[in-house]
Each structure stands twice: as structure tokens, then as C-alpha cells.
Subunit: 282 residues, 2 copies
């Protein structure tokens, strides 16, 4: 019977466990999570065994799935390294990949050859094991970032491990991953947070709640996400995020200039570019 | 039998007609719309009679519902004034209200007493009579902006006319309306457009489509809206839009500064403010 250690049983780790359960995967699932999340996950039937620290949960595991936020990963790599078996494979679910690969290389020693960085492109503004959903990953992308032929050799087994989630697994270079994720996820989160904060700081914060329609709800939805988690992601993926952010800032400054100068053609040009692109997104 | 003239049979005018039909309202519905929208609305069974111009459609009407974009309203007021009956009541569905009230005052003559500016807070990025939906307004706000006791006297009848839509009707001052709408709708549209345009202008425009997840889809959804319509709304409600926009720009500049300086506490402060506000929105 395979042993799978899941470190971090929030929405992502919990949903991975829930997917294994839903497909009656025969593994024993060991878990550690700071706070009460692992105990709650056992109550919910998501995991079999709960441990007081990551190293205890990882001991004897065939697979280690780190579903902790990116800033927590370097210390976790350090903590689990001494208890990894000679054949234990490791993956993570962090939102950025270049810094995670770098930390794994620095901390995992020879086990780095059995590490494959990963990132499921799924989530919501919810968190914790009660947000676990066995179908969270179904039809969504799960990106893997092997950076050596040794790591590449473990991808087939990792794909088999992920199969019960129904995710569409593909491989990508970690730096390319980080640039694309800055553009499609990290920076859009920053925009939603800035919109929410600007409204909250204004004198119409209460009326905005009373009169909001679908447009504001959608545009600001991801601003309800965890500030700590997202501050960590934005700072970790700083260079690509600033690249996306500065392009947005230039577009915004141009849009405000066009408004102040009542320059309708410039305004239409910017709005049309956006509208055409968004219609392609479908 | 009441005669209702609907001028502009796009998604809004078409959905109003559809709501009357769905509740078997006994009115005769006359329509004019530029292009083929009115003919299409008759094909769809939304309206009874189609006219080649607004004045012909309005002749003999008990109610005139102008569901045309704000920039088209001054000329429409001018065109219909000579054919308005002595008891004809008029309302509009424009996204801004101060400029519409001003134009109505300038153009409608004594019929201004029988005009009540209105605005249903509903819509979507779709347009045209094929997007008509009898339940579009159900449970949504429909704001009325009477600015005199003469106009006020028509509000009860207007509420009765709107009853089949299922909208929640309330009254508000037009300038207050415009400030709130800039904050909850007009400026969020500008943000979504700026996000879409910035992505479209970048070198990751194609990858952003391939790798986008729910966050970007939601945040940018309203950027698929009509550029012409929204350029008109933003320019018409310029002062409140700039007020909202400049507050957002300051927040964004602060967020980018916090990122560049790796100032985690400043970042957390802004993100937390946004997250708390968005959670209140629910």
C-alpha cells in the first residue's frame, strides 16, 4: 500500500486528498498542517493519519506532496530531508516555480533528483480543509517543472499519482511558468486587491456594497483571497509581477489621460483592444 | 390598451419588453431601433410594431421608454418632443443620470414634468435583442431620479410599469447616483478594460488565453463589453469617474511601490483592506 504524505491540508492539499478518496485510491494518507487543519481533515475523512510535524508525517512515505504556501517551502525542504527514504518522490503545489526549484536544489541534497515542482491552476478565494472539493482540479491544468533528466524520469509516476484529480497535466520551464502566472493570476490578483482597497478607502465604501451589481462582484471577487498568501506570492515572483504591473500601470495612465483630455479615439483604441482580447478568452 | 414605445431594442430594451411579455402585460409595444434590432425583436415576438424612426414609434404612446445609450439621448429628446401626447410619460435607462436630466430639461419643454430619469442596475457583456432575458432585472435595483414634485407624481405609475420586471425600484438624487455608479460600475469597467488591454499589448497575450484560470476570467469579464458604449459612459460621467480613477491610481502606485521596496507590511495593509471590504460584499 502506497503512503502519501500531504504537508499542508488547506483547500489545495485537502482537495487533492478528497480526489484520491473519491476515486477510492488505496493509499494511506499521512498529513501535517499547522494549526487544526490536519485534525479537521481527518474528521472530514480526507486523511488517515495526522502528525505533529512535517518530518513525522513524511517518514516512510512513497510520495510527499507539499501543499504549503511558497514562503514556507524552504524550511519544509530542510525539515523533511533527513527523513526522506531513498526512493521517496517529492512534489509541491506552490504558485511560483523558479524560487521553489532554487530552494529545493539548495535544501534537498541528492533527493533533489526525485523532486518535481508542480502547480495546479485551480483554487478559489476560499481556504482551509472545509473548502476541499474532489473536483477542484477536474479539467484544470496541473503544470510540472522538471529541470533535469533525473527529475523528468519521475514525471510519468507523478502523472499517475495526479490522475484521480482529473487535471490536465503538462510540463513547462519554471521561468516561463512564472512569467505566465504573473500575467494570468498574480497581477490580476493585485489589480482586484487595488480595486477593493481603493473602494474601501473612499467615502462610498458602504454605498458600493449596497449598489454593487455583477460587474464589480466579478472584477473584485479574488480580492477576498488571503492577504498573507498573496503578499507572499507577489513578493516571491517579484520581477515578472513588476513587469506585468508596470505594463498595466502604463495602460491605466494612458486611459486616465485619454479621459482627462476627452480623447475619445484614444479611449476607444484601448477599450477595443481589451474587448477583442477578452472575447478571444471566451 | 396602453401603448408603450421602446426606443432602442438592445439587451436592456429587449429584456424590458420580454419581461412585459412574460407577465402577459396587455400593452401594445411599439419600437424603433437603429439598424436591424427592432425587426429582429419583432421576429423574436418581443414587440408588436416596428417604426422607421423614433418619432413615429412614439406617436400616440402612453409611455416612452428610451433604452438607448446616453450619448444618443439629447437628440432623441429633441426628436420625440413634437409628437409627445399631453399625458405621455417618458423614462430612460441610461447609465448616467445628471447629464440625462440636464439634456431632458433642455430638450423636452413642458414634457420635462412628465419625465423621470431611470437606470436599471443590470446588464451583461452581451448586447442586442437576442440577449434579451425576461428575468434580467429580477431582484436587481432600478433607480429612479425624479428632480421635481411634478416628476415625483409620476413615480407610482412608473413603478407599476416596471413591476413585471421584478426589479427593486428606489429613488435617488442624480448626482449621488452618478458618484455611486462611477464607483461600482463605470470605474470597475475601466479597470477591467485596462487589464485586458495591458495583457493584449504584452508578449504573453496568447499564453494568457491558454493558461488563464477563473481569477483572470472573472476579473476581466466585463472588458468584453462594447467599447463604444463604455467610452460614451466614461466620458459622460467624467468627473465622478476621474475621482474614482484617481483614488484607484494612487492605490495602485502605492502597491507597486510596496512591491519594489519589498515592503511587506505596506502590502499586507492594502491587501487586507481590500479583502475585508470584499468579504463584506459577500
Amino acid at each position: 500500500m502506497q503512503r502519501i504524505a500531504i504537508i499542508g491540508i488547506g483547500m489545495i492539499g485537502g482537495s487533492f486528498a478528497a480526489a484520491l478518496r473519491a476515486r477510492a485510491h488505496p493509499a494511506v494518507i499521512a498529513a501535517f498542517s499547522p494549526g487544526g487543519d490536519a485534525a479537521r481533515a481527518r474528521e472530514l475523512g480526507l486523511v488517515d493519519e495526522v502528525y505533529p510535524d512535517a518530518a513525522s508525517a513524511v517518514r516512510g512515505a512513497d510520495w510527499v506532496v507539499l501543499a504549503a504556501p511558497v514562503p514556507a517551502l524552504p524550511a519544509l525542504f530542510r525539515e523533511i530531508r533527513p527523513v526522506l527514504g531513498a526512493a521517496t518522490r517529492i512534489t509541491d503545489c506552490g504558485s511560483t516555480k523558479a524560487s521553489v526549484v532554487q530552494a529545493a536544489r539548495a535544501e534537498l541534497g541528492e533527493a533533489f533528483d526525485r523532486f518535481v515542482a508542480g502547480h495546479p491552476l485551480a483554487g478559489s478565494e476560499r481556504s482551509g480543509p472545509d473548502a476541499a472539493n474532489p473536483d477542484l482540479f477536474r479539467g484544470k491544468r496541473w503544470l510540472l517543472c522538471p529541470v533535469s533528466s533525473a527529475q523528468q524520469a519521475h514525471c510519468a509516476d507523478l502523472r499517475a499519482l495526479l490522475a484521480p484529480t482529473g487535471a490536465v497535466v503538462s510540463e513547462i520551464d519554471p521561468r516561463e511558468h512564472d512569467r505566465i502566472l504573473a500575467e494570468v493570476s498574480h497581477w490580476p490578483h493585485a489589480v482586484a486587491f487595488a480595486l477593493g482597497a481603493a473602494i474601501a478607502r473612499g467615502d462610498l465604501a458602504d454605498q458600493a456594497i449596497e449598489f454593487s451589481a455583477g460587474g464589480l462582484r466579478d472584477t473584485s471577487r479574488i480580492a477576498a483571497s488571503s492577504p498573507e498568501l498573496w503578499a507572499g506570492i507577489l513578493l516571491d515572483n517579484l520581477e515578472p509581477v513588476l513587469e506585468s504591473g508596470e505594463r498595466f500601470q502604463a495602460e491605466l495612465d494612458g486611459l486616465l489621460r485619454a479621459l482627462r483630455e476627452r480623447d475619445r479615439p484614444a479611449l476607444i483604441e484601448s477599450l477595443s483592444l481589451a474587448s477583442r482580447w477578452r472575447k478571444r478568452l471566451g
